[in-house]
């Protein structure tokens, strides 16, 4: 089939997710096996017929695109969309997909405070757009929305497309309001068979250790018991972490069939003793054409298993506070029979004290995750009936399961406290299936191009699981493998549970785009979608979007400018309720009561019904400008947005009712901008440079939090958050206030320390009295004023140096570590954290502005040197590359805690976060917990071989 421009199906509004984009950069040092010299580059997707099973209603057909088409395709974008592929990806030891684009997309902030390999990355796109848990961008992998990121190995990712504006995201309807990240995996190409092998080895070390008082100094404090040892607790629970990655892939194909198969293996050790994971991923993609290439079929299969040692990151908290004069091992410090308790580890009869080494070495916390996904798709060319018409059908499924297991032996104080042993296991399954079918028409009428899509989508999710936990073991031999041996079950004190739930979404999709002379573009789309989670009165919603672009440089002669394009769009995207059954009046078991001589369960209403519960809706307006200069080597892109998110869902209490209900009551307004400037050298000479800088700002204000009698908080104010000070009834530090920016941290102002060692607070109300509640004000904001990504790639001959700097400016973080371990004073039986803020005189500190710190930072996130080893033409090797990478090289920040990273959410879910939870509450921001895994630095060596 001859590929002509006529056959190229143009953008609906995303121009391209191309397997070919990366060929733009001939200096690529990506680990992608597809980044090969242009001359050697095959025509991708040649086996695909006109109708392509890999297309979707949101992506352009990528069949038949030739190298070099990328630039033109990008020019068709009408929304605020970023496309990234191989050369744009971060390098080094990257185990999580989102790490590939961290710092690369203006407006998309991807964070993971600390270096816990088992912690998820959190992504925030353009500020707050929801008040519900899990309000991160929708992840779509190979057209499957709400896909698990664990299901794809970073090495198999071809491209990311990030839909930032509401008009673009409107096609994802009830799940688009937080933006959308589309991930496309690599597919085979028809050319001679290729084999690629990548491997990497890394060494990870602690990059930031908080200063605590050393033993001699601590011992000298009045009132301390000297246990005679000198223990560096952090050192005793950490190590150098070694990691290894191997990726092997085969690809190739004939005219009618293409295939790609890959195996990816990762073994990662965390710096915390006994933490890490090993992962095996396999993926297969086959495309086959039939019926004289009128039909094409595709099969995609992938399977990932990740065996995790979650470890005990909470040990970091106890390591900070553990008495440095205590030995690690000593069985005489606690009550009870000496030697019989705690396996020889030193423990103390003290509230909230656990030997960190014992925590890490004795307690098991394991998790086995598995993700299996499959997709079968077909497309048929109906050109014979109506010119330019095709039909696509696909069916896809994903099963995610995780088995969590813990065991605290009879000799552990932590997680047990009973000397009886305690084991838990829980299994969670999540299954999603997706059926999609749509008709697509693409016609050119002279200079006018028309594309129309109409389709149907049905997606169903089901979750179920069960678990049990119990203690009282005779022996530690079973760990968590023989729950029946726990006497708790015989005594009736074991815990058992199971659950099941499901939800479904049904949508009709329509979209049309018109372009004239490659100069005028307009795209209109809508998704009419229903969700089972909506209340009875509100079952279906309509999400429209329209965007337009004009290439001014085609209309007016502009000196210097290669392109000047203006874009504008308006759309509505939504968020369905985060949990199933949110609209129903739910009853639940509320503990047994005594009835007639026996205990029977009692039941009560735990959630009031709300048949009007609907979707959160975000109306967004985006205006953008793209400029290309210097033979299109220099490009500038600017986007400005204004969003109004309404009908946001919060749980509210009716004054007289014991049960809450979910209701659409809040409204927020956001605005911001994103700017990126990129330079790409032609790359012909022996020296070349490319680089880019991007920056973004997003501010969100809460407009209202009530509707009728329903009100979140009171009088337009809600105080949230829990600090880790003990016993303080005044710990709310997040103020959500109507009319104010989200992100506010609120509290008293510390004026000094009194003679008695207690804090003196400022009398902010000026009434002559200091009231722990009245005398508070806004102390800072947890959201950054600006985020920055700055990358450079310098090539000299066969050597390439690449540098990525990442920064965030103006955000504040509550340093809980200081509050708990620095401000409690010498009276406290815990060790004292000593930062520059340490006040020796202070006793028993409560939260104040003194514990909120500006966490502005700039970090050298990634530094890589690559050597493209020269290979002879015609040798067995197509290419050979050796890389050395350092990640998280240094951080410039005045923040005294573990990691100045933005805290978008309360990320202390180290303990058995069940797979069924919907993520973290976006309103619980701004705090670094004491159990934070410290940040780490990684050095790695990599090898890429292609034959």
């Amino acid at each position: 089939m001859v590929v002509t421009k006529k056959h190229i199906v143009l953008a609906l509004f995303i121009s391209l997710i191309g397997e070919t984009l990366q060929s733009q950069d001939t200096g690529s040092i990506s680990s992608s096996e597809n980044s090969i010299p242009p001359g050697d580059r095959p025509v991708q997707g040649a086996a695909h017929a006109f109708a392509n099973p890999d297309s979707s209603f949101v992506t352009i057909e990528n069949s038949g695109l030739s190298p070099g088409y990328g630039k033109a395709a990008q020019s068709r974008i009408t929304g605020a969309i970023i496309v990234l592929s191989g050369p744009d990806f971060n390098n080094g030891l990257i185990h999580e997909p989102l790490q590939l684009i961290q710092g690369r997309v203006p407006g998309l902030n991807i964070t993971r405070p600390g270096g816990d390999p088992n912690e998820d990355f959190y992504s925030d796109l353009r500020g707050f757009s929801s008040t519900q848990s899990g309000s991160q961008p929708l992840i779509v992998i190979d057209h499957f929305p709400a896909a698990s990121l664990l299901g794809v190995d970073p090495n198999d990712i071809e491209s990311f497309v990030v839909l930032r504006d509401a008009a673009s995201a409107a096609l994802y309807g009830t799940r688009g309001a937080n933006g959308v990240i589309l991930i496309t995996t690599k597919k085979g190409v028809s050319r001679k068979p290729a084999i690629a092998y990548n491997s990497g080895f890394g060494l990870e070390r602690l990059a930031k250790k908080m200063e605590v008082m050393p033993a001699p100094e601590y011992r000298a404090l009045a009132g301390k018991t000297d246990f005679g040892a000198e223990t560096e607790w952090i050192d005793r629970i950490t190590r150098k972490g070694f990691s290894a990655v191997h990726n092997l892939s085969f690809s190739g194909g004939s005219d009618a069939t293409t295939y790609r198969a890959s195996v990816n293996y990762r073994d990662v050790q965390g710096i915390l003793n006994n933490s890490g994971f090993s992962q095996l991923n396999t993926r297969l993609a086959i495309r086959q054409s039939a019926l004289n290439k009128k039909a094409t079929f595709g099969i995609d299969l992938s399977r990932t298993t990740r065996d995790r040692e979650m470890g005990q990151p909470i040990a970091f908290r106890y390591a900070l506070g553990a008495d440095p004069t205590m030995p690690v091992y000593d069985n005489t410090l606690t009550s009870g029979t000496p030697g019989a308790l705690y396996g020889g580890y030193a423990e103390r009869d003290l509230y909230d004290f656990y030997n960190p080494v014992s925590i890490v070495e004795q307690n098991l916390n394991d998790k086995k995750d598995a993700v299996i996904s499959a997709r079968i798709s077909g497309a048929y060319d109906l050109n014979d009936f109506i010119k330019g018409l095709s039909l696509s059908v696909s069916y896809a499924g994903q099963t995610e399961s995780s088995l969590s297991s813990t065991y605290s032996p009879t000799t552990a104080k932590f997680g047990n406290n009973t000397n009886r042993g305690h084991a838990t296991r829980r299994l969670d399954n999540n299954t999603g299936t997706l059926f999609e079918s749509y008709l697509k028409l693409n016609r050119n009428f002279g200079d006018l191009h028309l594309g129309v899509v109409g389709g149907y989508s049905f997606q169903k999710f089901a979750a179920d699981g069960f678990g049990a936990g119990g203690g009282d073991f005779l022996t530690d031999a079973f760990t968590y493998n023989n729950l029946g041996a726990a006497l708790d079950f015989d005594n009736g004190t074991g815990e058992v549970f199971s659950y099941a739930e499901s939800n479904k979404l049904e949508a009709f999709i329509g979209s049309a785009n018109v372009s004239l002379s490659d100069t005028w573009f307009i795209t209109a789309s809508m998704r009419h979608e229903g969700s089972s989670r909506f209340g009875l009165h509100n079952k279906r919603a309509l999400f429209p979007g329209v965007s337009t672009a004009v290439v001014l440089s085609n209309l007016i002669e502009m000196p210097m400018l290669n392109q000047l394009k203006i874009r504008a769009g308006y759309g509505i995207s939504g968020n369905q309720p985060a949990r199933s059954y949110s609209a129903l009046g739910r009853w639940d078991e509320l503990g047994p009561t005594y009835q007639n001589g026996i205990y029977r369960p009692s039941y009560g209403l735990v959630q009031s019904p709300n048949p009007d519960l609907g979707w959160e809706s975000k109306r967004g307006f985006n205006i953008g400008l793209d400029i290309a200069l210097l033979d299109s080597r220099l490009k500038l892109s600017y986007d400005h947005f204004k969003n109004v998110a309404e009908d946001l869902i919060l749980n509210v209490h009716n004054y007289a009712s014991a049960a809450y209900q979910w209701a659409n009551i809040a409204k927020m307004r956001s605005n911001g901008f994103e700017l990126s400037l990129t330079y790409r050298d032609g790359g012909a000479g022996s020296v070349s440079w490319s680089g880019g800088i991007n920056m973004a700002k997003a501010r969100t204000a809460m407009v209202e939090m009530s509707k009728g009698p329903l009100e979140y908080g009171q009088d337009g104010v809600a105080i949230l958050g829990n600090l880790e000070t003990s016993g303080c009834g005044c710990s709310g530090f997040i103020r959500i206030k109507e009319g104010a920016d989200l992100g506010e941290i609120w509290g008293p102002v510390q004026a000094g320390v009194g003679e008695d060692g207690r804090q003196v607070f400022a009398d902010l109300s000026g009434d002559g009295m200091v009231d722990a509640y009245q005398d508070r004000r806004v102390l800072g904001n947890a959201m950054p004023d600006l985020t920055l990504g700055f990358y450079n790639r310098l090539r000299y001959e066969a050597f390439t140096l690449s540098i990525l700097l990442r920064g965030a400016f103006g955000h504040d973080v509550v340093n809980n570590v200081r509050l708990r371990y620095e401000g409690q004073g010498s009276m406290h039986p815990y060790n004292i954290v000593k930062t520059k803020y340490y006040l020796p005189h202070l006793q028993g500190a409560q939260f104040s502005d003194y514990y909120l710190e500006d966490a502005t930072y700039l970090k050298l996130d990634n530094l890589m040197l690559a050597w493209q080893v020269p290979v002879n033409v015609g040798s067995a090797f197509r290419s050979l590359q050796i890389t050395a990478t350092a990640q998280n090289v240094f951080t410039i920040s005045g923040y005294s805690g573990m990691d100045p990273e933005i805290r978008y959410t309360n990320s202390a879910h180290y303990h058995s976060k069940p797979a069924s939870t919907n993520g973290d509450n976006p309103l619980l921001y701004g705090m670094e917990r004491t159990a934070t895994y410290p940040r780490t630095r990684t050095f790695s060596l990599g090898l890429v071989v292609r034959i």
Binding site: Y351, L391, Y456, S531, R600, L605, A656, A658, M827, H828
Partner: protein, 527 residues
């Protein structure tokens, strides 16, 4: 393939009903009588917070002269909230007040909701009118009990009696204490005749006529405090009905009311039946015992070493001048050796002196204070060195009122006593004495209690000896604060507390409630 596509189309155009698996809603609940009783049960599980640290019981006890939670180095400072309570510097922001408020209004709200639901049910299905009516009477009495406690603690609380809130309805303002008093009185009298009178398994832990009369007794006994108008005769009438007509009798042995299996007590009128398996939440063993007591009682969890008994209060049992009775060896002061003192059977209220493991060895506290007189061996000394900052870890007798089960968990199985005949007898005696200081029956009633405790009967009644006897008998049963206020001793100094402002007779309306309800006003003196 088109056919395939169409097939899917037709199959998938589905309704979007929620499919339920492990959830119940009002639609698939309330089908059987059993399910109704399960719904009623929630009104009782509300009482399950009684034996926890940090709310209603704690604010009443720590603020009295019975109990104290000293700051033990870094332990138990908790932002100073516990010191505030004992020293009468109540701050509206103290979280314990909000916990107590939320706890009691939670009980009110549950009762309101269930009343609403049973009313709806009776409307929809006339055949269920009778049983619904019975449940509603029971719930109204439960709600009155919550309001009695709310009024006693906070005084002027909002009176919320309906489950539904009309559109545009304002959040409720404070009602004067006297009007809450009237509400409790009227409600209880209105339902009194609908409540069961039997004392058997079917009424154990349930609201009966006797429970309602007990509440009325206490309401009238304190009427002068609540409304300014004494109601001694009404208190006598209510108490006499319980004493004369009720199916209760004093236990021969005081302790029997508080043992692990106290469900057979002949004296207890209203309990919350705790159970370590089924109904957890009673954790006094954790709250009061020392870390090292874990081995003494072979507990499955390590205690928290919090609550101690104020020494003077402990001495009111063993001091022969205050409590005449048979003399024998008791622990006093630093418990270095046993000395002569009154042997009162009710000393079972305390855990005091040297502590021994089941094998006879001394329990040991390796973290002992260097200033602790006897060092590492665990000895609860009646004497406490200071309230702050370094109260001895082993200082103070501990609350031994409820028997600690050997091998127990952090959930005790003893049933928590809220009303019992012993208190009603003393209340009856007091009311009679108030009307006639020389009332012979009053004296004989008090002496019934003293004789049961094995101590010498009083020759006459005075305010002092009546209050002291109530103290000894009712220790830790959430009566002391009320008694001290009624006997006008609340403002007086006691250990580590100076004379205090009379405003502290009411707890402050919690700051969080004021912030969340603009129609609420703070109690007098707190602003």
């Amino acid at each position: 393939m088109i056919g395939l596509g169409l097939t899917f189309f037709s199959q998938s155009c589905t309704d979007l009903e929620e499919e339920l698996y492990s959830q119940v809603t009002a639609d698939n609940f309330f089908q059987t009588e059993q399910e109704f009783i399960a719904a009623l049960g929630q009104a009782y599980s509300s009482f399950g917070g009684m034996g926890n640290h940090g709310h209603l019981w704690s604010i009443n006890e720590i603020s009295s002269d019975e109990l104290v939670v000293t700051t033990k180095g870094g332990d138990w400072y908790d932002g100073g909230v516990l010191l505030q309570l004992h020293q009468h510097e109540f701050a509206p922001s103290n979280g314990f007040f909000n916990n107590a408020w939320g706890y009691m209004f939670g009980g009110v709200n549950t009762a309101n909701r269930l009343i609403f639901q049973f009313e709806q049910l009776a409307q929809d299905d006339p055949s269920k009118q009778e049983s619904s009516g019975k449940f509603i009477s029971e719930l109204r009495a439960i709600r009155a009990l919550w309001y009695y406690w709310l009024m006693d603690s906070f005084g002027n609380v909002p009176l919320v009696t309906s489950f539904t809130v009309a559109e545009g309805e304002e959040s409720p303002p404070n009602a004067p204490r006297a009007s809450i008093f009237n509400f409790v009185e009227n409600e209880l009298n209105a339902v009194l005749d609908d409540l069961p009178t039997a004392k058997d398994a079917s009424t154990y832990g349930r609201m009966t006529r006797w429970v309602a009369l007990s509440v009325l007794t206490k309401l009238y006994l304190n009427a002068e405090v609540y409304t300014g108008v004494p109601q001694w005769q009404k208190a006598i009438d209510a108490a006499e009905e319980i004493v004369n007509d009720g199916p209760f009798s004093l236990e021969g042995v005081y302790r029997n009311n508080f043992v692990v299996n106290n469900q057979n007590s002949t004296e207890n009128i209203f309990v919350y039946p705790y159970d370590k398996v089924f109904a957890g939440g009673f954790n006094w063993n954790m709250m009061t015992l020392h870390y090292a007591s874990q081995t003494v009682y072979r507990l499955t969890s390590q205690p928290w070493n919090g609550y101690s008994v104020v020494e003077e209060f402990y001495n009111s049992y063993v001091d022969p001048a205050q409590n005449p009775g048979p003399q024998g060896l008791v622990w006093k002061n630093l418990a270095t050796e046993q000395v002569q003192g009154t042997i009162d059977e009710r000393l079972s209220n305390f855990v005091v002196g040297p502590q021994f493991n089941p094998d006879g060895s001394r329990a040991v506290d390796p973290g002992f204070d260097t200033s602790d007189p006897d060092g590492a061996p665990l000895t609860f000394t009646p004497q406490i060195n200071e309230i702050y900052p370094n109260g001895w870890r082993q200082g103070g007798a501990r609350i031994g009122k409820y028997e600690f089960e050997v091998g127990g968990t952090n959930n005790m199985s003893n049933d928590f006593v809220m009303f019992r005949l012993g208190d009603i007898i003393l209340s009856l005696a007091e009311a009679k004495w108030r009307l006639n200081a020389g009332d012979a029956e009053a004296l004989s009633l008090v002496n019934q209690i003293r004789e049961r405790a094995g101590v010498t009967p009083y020759g006459s009644l005075t305010a002092d000896n009546l209050l002291a006897e109530r103290g000894r008998e009712m220790f830790a049963e959430m009566m002391r604060r009320q008694d001290l206020i009624r006997f006008d001793r609340w403002d007086e100094p006691w250990w580590e507390k100076t004379s205090s402002d009379p405003k502290y007779k009411l707890f402050p309306i919690p700051q969080q409630q004021l912030d969340s309800n603009e129609n609420l006003e703070q109690n007098p003196g707190y602003n």
